[in-house]
Symmetry: C2
Subunit: 171 residues, 2 copies
């Protein structure tokens, strides 16, 4: 009989029964983590451990998400004891779109080769659906780019201020 010692962070396979057009846990967890980071930074860098405890996320997994955010230039890291992460820009300068693209890659609903010139889509010029994917893409982009991290942090502050039980404040 084998016993697993490490408790599994009970997984969300793209939030229960999935359809498509879903954000993965990367985008969902990552945005929560970044809001948390924004809230708790100010007195020095914020460690992955502290975020993972507050937000109830796997420490190891979060590590990977932070790496993506770093690569995208949204956060900076400070190594060694007492280290952690800080935002690389002001919260007003970071949009939800920046965060999600860093974590999920392109948010375009279809990687249509007809959308960029060098692609080799056979039906490129007679392609009608391309127009649809473009419209969807524009509307998603517009939406996520007009929400700033700043707004979310503010919103969270309001909600959690009135909340006696801080552990419930998980974004």
């Amino acid at each position: 009989m084998s016993v697993s010692l490490t408790e599994r962070h009970y997984g969300e396979y793209t939030a229960g029964r999935s359809g498509k057009m879903k954000l993965s846990t990367k985008g969902r967890y990552g945005l929560r983590a970044l809001i948390d980071l924004a809230q708790y930074s100010g007195d020095g860098p914020v460690s992955i451990t502290s975020i993972s405890v507050r937000q109830d996320l796997s420490e190891r997994y979060l590590e990977q998400l932070m790496s993506l955010l770093k690569k995208a230039g949204l956060v900076r890291s400070i190594r060694g004891a007492g280290g952690g992460y800080v935002l690389a820009k002001d919260t007003k300068e970071i949009s939800v779109g920046d965060v999600l693209r860093a974590l999920e890659g392109s948010l375009e609903p279809v990687d249509c080769p007809g959308l960029d010139p060098e692609g080799g889509c056979k039906a490129a010029d007679s392609c009608v659906t391309k127009y649809v994917w473009k419209r969807i893409n524009e509307s998603i982009t517009r939406t996520v780019d007009e929400i700033s991290l700043d707004q979310l942090v503010e919103e969270s502050r309001k909600k959690c201020a009135s909340d006696a039980d801080r552990t419930k404040c998980k974004n």
Copy 2:
């Protein structure tokens, strides 16, 4: 040595290297098929075989997509020789949103239990990201619901009318 007799419709695993937030082939193929159906109906029902030839899609797979469209009440079927499919409504009454939801299921980027009342999201009331997913959902919904099949058929007609080589007209 074994030889495969059935040629595989060389697959698109969600359009090459995927990210997330992607439409599956169901949505992409299905919309093309429905545009085709709209264009070629008028003189009786349109068969799956004819659509699959014109649009270069797997006949068997398309069958499954049509079944979904039927279940959603977008098309009606006529069985037996000379049968096929016809639109169940006018093209003006069918939106891209109707089609995509029939094929892909919900288009919401996150199945957030906090979004419907009876869900059991622990962080429900302090959940800030929920607001983001709601905004994205609204913008996608608005966009896909304001494009009608009618518009796409018209667009396709314009493009293909000036196209000598009909085989290129694949939507």
